[in-house]
């Protein structure tokens, strides 16, 4: 339920600072009033968390379309036993309402790692990292339809226009990077249904909006300088100074002038970010950059970019899926080929990212989250597909503050409903914020009459997976 979603009352810089998260505002404001350094007016200035953080950055590997839990991390022998039979339980309405018989998983599960956690053969590489993962088998969502479920997973609300998790995080903590946006979305080819509003700042100030970077050498629009920029900027500075002398001291105009400095830094930082010729052969191999499957190369490149962003202090990175020709992870039909192609494109890069972060000592301070907007049904849609299932699905977390090699929660024998330790999307958000040192109940923004939160009025920590 929402009250008061949507875009917020704008603010003067002064108001914004006062209203800002975790008391930073008042500090920064007093600095301003004391006529101190201007830099604190930068909304991305790093701010202390509510309590000691376990992780300082997040990489969200969003599996657009909804991978099947019973084919990945949640094995269900009953499906093998009852394959081809009608499901022996009352089923809820599904998106396509074309309920077939029980469908066993086409992939075998093996126990992996020291923890012996079962992972299906779809993910041979990620399986090697299983001791670093906390696998949540009891995720539930409120929506069976992609767009609303995507909004829900990203913003904690099924409706369009609420701030995305990455926006909340940068709103709360700022970002360590002075030259790049604090919340970056790496587009590998598929923008999830719902579009840019999955990454919107909603009612938070626009600085916290997710910046979508395309794959390739020009990831951001208008980032390549045109014309004789150096001379132009020189003239601009001089003309603006004269205007300010005429108008007198003014916050908004001075901030807009300072803004050109950040824009200038971005113009060099972004090309530097995507210039990967300095990466070693071993690293290229790790991420699958020279894989025979082009989608693996593409996704590997974006996973590598994710690491480079985290290295540069960017707070929140989301990596989107590549287009493998099938419809994302959304296999209403052709489960075998569709899931195999998606897994092929993402398995090696995801494992590569985990291993690379670990070897560089970054995994301890980086929270990696993997999952889609919902899971899939244990029975077939048509003969060889699976429909949407928000009632029980799997996600995993790894890295900063996470107890690796754990399984949390369970679904029923069919893998349809979460029945043990259900985890709401709000709980996932609360836990993510917690690991970043933020109390989800205190990370608020006053908007149109209410102190709004990422978790609305919900959210409980998933304590058993915390290290």
């Amino acid at each position: 339920m929402h009250c008061q979603r949507f875009i917020g009352p704008p603010q003067s810089r002064r108001e914004m600072l006062l209203n800002c998260a975790n008391g930073f505002g008042a500090v920064a404001l007093s600095a301003l009033l004391g006529d101190q350094v201007r830099a604190s007016s930068d909304p991305m200035t790093p701010r202390p968390p509510h309590f000691k953080a376990k992780a300082t950055s997040v990489i969200f590997l969003f599996m657009d379309g909804g991978p099947s839990q019973v084919d990945t991390f949640d094995p269900k022998p009953r499906l093998d036993r009852e394959h081809g039979q009608p499901i022996k339980m009352k089923t809820p309405a599904t998106q396509f309402n074309n309920v077939g018989n029980v469908l066993k998983s086409p992939w075998a599960f093996k126990n992996r790692g020291k923890s012996g956690i079962p992972v299906s053969d779809l993910f041979p590489h990620v399986a090697e990292c299983v001791d670093d993962l906390a696998i949540i088998r009891s995720m539930v969502s409120n929506f069976s339809e992609h767009t609303a479920a995507n909004y829900f997973m990203h913003t904690g609300s099924g409706l369009q226009g609420r701030p995305s998790g990455g926006s909340w995080v940068t709103y709360g903590l700022g970002s360590e990077s002075r030259n790049l946006p604090g919340f970056v979305v790496l587009n590998s080819g598929l923008i999830p249904p719902g579009g840019a509003d999955c990454f919107t700042n909603g009612f938070l100030p626009a600085s916290y909006q997710g910046s979508v970077f395309s794959a390739g050498n020009t990831p951001v629009a208008n980032i390549r300088p045109v014309g004789n920029q150096k001379a132009m900027l020189g003239l601009l500075r001089s003309l603006d100074r004269e205007t300010l002398e005429r108008v007198g001291h003014n916050d908004a105009m001075e901030s807009a002038i300072a803004n050109y400095e950040l824009a200038g830094r971005m113009q060099s930082a972004v090309p530097d970010l995507v210039e990967i010729s300095g990466e070693s052969k071993a690293t290229r191999e790790l991420y699958g950059l020279d894989d025979t499957y082009p989608q693996t190369q593409l996704y590997g490149r974006q996973c590598l970019t994710a690491r480079r962003l985290v290295e540069r202090g960017v707070r929140f990175v989301e990596v989107l899926c590549p287009n493998v020709g099938a419809d994302r992870w959304d296999q209403h039909g052709g489960l075998k080929k569709g899931h195999e192609d998606n897994a092929r494109a993402t398995d090696k890069p995801v494992a590569g990212l985990l291993k690379d972060l670990k070897s560089r000592g970054l995994l301890d301070s980086t929270l990696v989250v993997w999952g889609g907007e919902f899971g899939r049904t244990p029975m077939a849609q048509g003969s060889d597909g699976r429909d949407h299932n928000p009632f029980g699905f799997t996600m995993w977390m790894a890295g900063g503050g996470i107890k690796g090699g754990t399984i949390h929660g369970a679904t029923d024998d069919y893998g349809y409903y979460a029945v043990e330790n259900k985890v709401q999307v709000h709980d996932l958000h609360a836990t993510m914020l917690h690991l970043l040192g933020l109390d989800h109940k205190r990370l608020t923004h006053r908007f149109s009459g209410r102190d709004m939160r990422l978790t609305d009025v919900h959210g409980e920590l998933i304590r058993p997976i915390l290290a």
Binding site: F6, V226, L235, N250, G449
Partner: protein, 964 residues
């Protein structure tokens, strides 16, 4: 609610130790059963339930820490029925029933489920625990009364003009009220700004464009007493005024031309609403009329019509349907509830400055708005439907229809007698919903001309292709009776689906039958594909068409029979049904069988009319007139459907319905006084209440919005929230005086503009004075003018204007969105629009929810989600990057430079022209010097580039986008 079955009965056999006791009666239990409670049940309740249903929290209004409260239950009703586990909500919930699953995280172990079930079966033994104290917060409480006394709900106060010390400064009451506040705080108003700055300020404010150089010079030279008035009148009379202020209004109604979500469907003809708003502002339509047209423009006995006869008033109602929407919601009732929620949210904030939608799940947490208020308003929307309204003057198409009818009468007279027996449908126990045999459309809602005044009668015929005469059996709703070229719809009353099949005996070509359930229109697969029938029998006899509606049992629905006048979504894009064929519906039946009833073999016999040769010329005449029937003009609108009240949705869930909520306006604004509407939706009555002068909100909210746009901040800064969580007015007396004056002046918005922009306050300089800023740091008292950054549209429009590319064409369909490689995703239009938007003002750029213009977004163009009276004014690197590197800006710079080079010979003249065009002033000596240094020697061949770079810099200056 469906209740647990099977083992409840089994458990009843378990030793029932308790004495029988009905709910509410005093109950005594023996020690054994009490021991069972204490040992088994109470620890369980404490461990698993009381965290959310105990003394600290009462989720769902439920407490389980006493028997009394457990019996009383929560919002959905009693939690337990002693002795009846099968009927007890608690037992259903712990068995993870359909409505509620408790505890929410994990199902209880089977043993604990059995314990609680047994306990209920034992009549729920519990030692006497005395009454549970309940806290009074409801509408009868003292706390609530305080809410009703919130400042914004109080009547407008009349205050005498305040006394001021500096009597020379005020020009009118605005100035006196402000000055009074300033003097009380030891402040003085800022000195006047210069004339050029004032003109730039007022021009951008009123028309959203920079003043032309000649306008500046005329004003500066005009020493007459009414020089300022002359300017204001010129600007208010300019058609660009309505574009500028219309856009402000569009922010309030989340104007968009697509519905977002996965496919970003077009909202067809949304732009007609945009043009309506623009025209309304230009015509200074009294605001009470404007509001009335928004809420009930379709119900006005005498709607305003344009010169071409099209209905203008009805277009106001289009705002309801600028809502976002999904294409295949799994829960269609929830989709309806969300849609209505957004409609109420926009209604509340835009017109009343009230966050009414906060009361969807619970009484408002801070304001005097109850959940019942919310659902009372919801009833107005449930009683209304979306329509693609026919806007033409009655005579434009109806006139042609009358002419055709006259010819048909002549033809009929020349034809021999004919007799077509209507078909007889064998009784198979199915239920006749409609057979049209009463020869009236009573109980149906008719739009357009196609269906004529009633069903077909004996002797009716149909002229096909202007040549062939074909008989029509009596008792059909037939859209070809007058002509195939007419369009129209016939919509049924609302009914509850209680049979699995609907059979339609129908005939047609290009006809469409839709079943609209829970108001859901984007009917297509998946899920909804079966609710659409395309009727294409093409002039054979009527045949049965069947809809399987078994999965929609219990839903509210209406049938839409359409020949044009409706929209098809099945193809993944929005398209109007063509409406150039015909649809004939003979009978509609609800049935338990998938096969339709048989049609009696003897029925349907025809005695064909003899086509006399003398009808030839008449047919030719008919064909000639028919060919002149124009395509109807269609617009987005609301229309009345079956009148029905909503019920309170307990905790906002469409699955748990509470008490009925008869339609009425918000109680705290007098909604319970007066009667509920006797017929129809009652929206006209609602509108009258919203604009009733005794409603203190409508006028206050609107004048505050005007103030905000002229002075940078509202007197109430939270422009869309006049409730307890909003801000209080900085100058309440001034706000009330303005509101009263607004009503007194006939709700004229232009009159309010004059008052505001001709005030002395509006003339103040924005230059900061450290001392005054210390006393009044947020400028709440308006001791000076606020510096404002231009809105996204004004920045873009100014660039078009100075570069000479601005095309001031008014109105019409939007210019397609220019797509960059960075705009991706589903629903992406197949073709990109022009980079410069054909030079049109930003108002006319297509607003697609999923593909908003990156240029406009960088400068805080709002996401069209809900009411947005106060846009963000952000400062992000994307702004600098856009102004530095965006091809649109580069193109503007180059054009501006080339035109300037072509028209002015010398460097000085050119510089002078650039500055006057962009800033309404000549460059200073230093600026000339700076520019000259920048231009350097202008080596041959480099001239255009050098000037382009200079123009580019000027568009990057703060002076270009800030109004001091």
């Amino acid at each position: 609610m469906r209740i647990m079955r099977s083992f409840a009965t089994a458990l009843l056999a378990v030793g029932l130790a308790g004495t029988s006791g009905m709910a509410g009666e005093p109950t005594k239990f023996d020690s054994l059963s009490l021991e069972f409670f204490e040992k088994e049940v109470r620890p369980l309740l404490t461990a698993k339930c009381l965290g959310c249903h105990g003394p600290q929290k009462q989720k769902g209004g439920l407490r389980l820490d006493s028997r009394t409260s457990a019996l009383a239950g929560g919002d959905s009703g009693p939690a337990i029925i002693p002795g009846k586990p099968g009927e007890s909500r608690l037992v259903d919930a712990i068995n993870y029933g359909e409505t509620v699953q408790m505890p929410p995280k994990s199902k209880l172990p089977a043993s604990e489920v059995a314990t609680l079930t047994k306990w209920v079966a034992m009549n729920a033994p519990w030692p006497d625990d005395g009454p549970t104290k309940s806290v009074e917060t409801g509408p009868a409480s003292a706390a609530w009364k305080k809410r009703t006394e919130h400042w914004s709900l109080e009547p407008l106060r009349k205050t005498d003009d305040p006394k001021v010390l500096n009597t020379a400064w005020p020009k009118g009451f605005i100035d006196r009220f402000l000055l009074n506040g300033l003097e009380a705080n030891g402040l003085k108003p800022a000195p006047d700004t210069d004339r050029r700055s004032w003109l730039r300020r007022v021009t951008f404010d009123l028309i959203g464009l920079p003043p032309r150089p000649e306008e500046v010079e005329t004003f500066v030279a005009d020493r007459s007493a009414d020089a300022f008035e002359t300017v204001v009148e010129r600007l208010l009379a300019s058609p660009q005024y309505g574009e500028r202020w219309g856009r402000h209004w569009l922010d309030l109604v989340r104007y968009s031309e697509t519905s977002g979500h996965e496919f970003d469907y077009e909202i067809p003809d949304a732009w007609r609403y945009r043009d309506y708003v623009t025209r309304a502002f230009n015509a200074d339509l009294p605001f009470d009329q404007f509001v009335t047209e928004h809420l009930a423009g379709d119900l006005l006995p005498n709607p305003r019509r344009n010169a071409d006869g099209t209905n203008e008033s009805i277009l106001g109602t289009g705002f309801f349907f600028l809502v976002e929407g999904t294409h295949s919601p799994v829960d269609v009732r929830e989709e309806e509830a969300s849609r209505i929620d957004n409609q109420i949210d926009v209604f509340g904030k835009a017109f009343l400055g009230m966050t009414l939608a906060c009361a969807r799940c619970h009484d408002h947490k801070f304001d005097a708005i109850t959940t019942k208020d919310y659902y009372s308003l919801s009833g107005y929307l449930k009683s209304s439907r979306h329509q693609h309204a026919f806007l033409d003057a009655p005579e434009r198409i109806g006139g042609k229809a009358t002419e055709l009818e006259a010819i048909k009468t002549e033809i009929a007279a020349k034809l021999g007698p004919s007799n077509v027996e209507p078909k007889t449908v064998k009784d198979d126990g199915s239920i006749v919903f409609e057979d049209f045999n009463k020869l009236t459309y009573e109980g149906w809602f008719v739009t357009g001309e196609a269906f004529g005044s009633g069903p077909s009668r004996q002797g009716d015929f149909h002229i096909v292709d202007g040549t062939k005469i074909e008989p029509i059996p009596p008792g059909q709703a037939h859209t070809g009776r007058t002509s195939n070229r007419l369009q129209g719809t016939l919509r049924s009353r609302l009914f509850t689906i209680d049979h699995p099949f609907i059979h339609y005996l129908a005939d047609g070509s290009g006809g469409r039958i839709n079943l609209v359930i829970d108001g859901f229109e984007k009917i297509r697969s998946p899920i909804y594909g079966g609710l659409v029938l395309d009727v294409n029998t093409s002039r054979s006899a009527a045949k049965w068409e069947t809809m399987d509606v078994s999965m929609w049992r219990g839903h509210r629905a209406y049938i839409e029979l359409a020949d044009g006048g409706t929209v098809d979504y099945t193809g993944g894009v929005t398209r109007y049904m063509p409406g150039n064929g015909y649809l004939a519906v003979d009978e509609i039946r609800f049935s338990d069988r998938s096969t339709p009833p048989a049609i009696s073999e003897t029925s349907g016999s025809k005695l064909l009319p003899r086509q006399a040769p003398s009808v030839g010329p008449l047919l030719a005449q008919y064909a000639k007139i028919e060919s002149k029937i124009p395509t109807p003009t269609i617009g987005l609108a609301i229309t009345d459907g079956s009148a029905e009240d909503d019920r309170v949705h307990i905790r906002g869930s469409s699955r748990t319905l509470g008490e009925p909520a008869p339609r009425r306006f918000v109680e705290v604004l007098g909604g319970t006084k007066g009667s509920t509407p006797a017929s129809g939706s009652g929206r006209l009555d609602l509108a009258r209440r919203v604009v009733d002068p005794t409603n203190p909100l409508t006028s206050r909210v609107l004048v505050n919005r005007l103030w905000k746009h002229h002075f940078g901040e509202g007197l109430v800064r939270s422009t869309d929230d006049f409730g307890a969580m909003g801000q209080t007015p900085s100058n309440p007396d001034l706000l009330d005086r303005l509101a009263a004056d607004f009503i007194k002046g006939g709700w004229s918005i232009k009159r309010m503009h004059r008052l505001m922009v001709l005030s002395h306050a509006y003339q103040m300089s924005s230059a900061a004075e450290p001392e005054a800023d210390r006393v009044d740091p947020t400028n709440r008292l308006v001791h000076r003018m606020n510096v404002r950054r231009l809105e996204a549209e004004a920045i873009r429009d100014a660039m078009l204007a100075v570069s000479g590319r601005l095309d001031l064409t008014l109105f019409g369909p939007s210019v397609p969105t220019h797509l960059t490689p960075f705009m991706e995703g589903r629903g992406r239009p197949s073709q990109s629009g022009p980079l410069d938007g054909n030079g049109r003002r930003s108002l006319y750029l297509n607003v697609r929810r999923n593909f908003l213009s990156p240029f406009l977004l960088a400068f805080d163009f709002p996401t069209p989600a809900s009411c947005m009276g106060r846009r963000n004014v952000s400062n992000v690197p994307a702004q600098a990057l856009t102004l530095l590197n965006d091809p649109f800006v580069l193109e503007r710079s180059k054009l501006w430079a080339s035109r300037t080079i072509a028209s002015k010979a010398t460097r000085d003249e050119r510089l002078d022209s650039l500055y006057r065009t962009a800033f309404g002033r000549a460059p200073t000596d230093r600026e000339r010097q700076d520019a000259s240094t920048f231009l350097g020697a202008e080596s041959p061949g480099q001239e255009v580039q050098a000037w382009t770079d200079l123009c580019h810099v000027l568009m990057n200056t703060k002076e270009f986008i800030f109004i001091p």
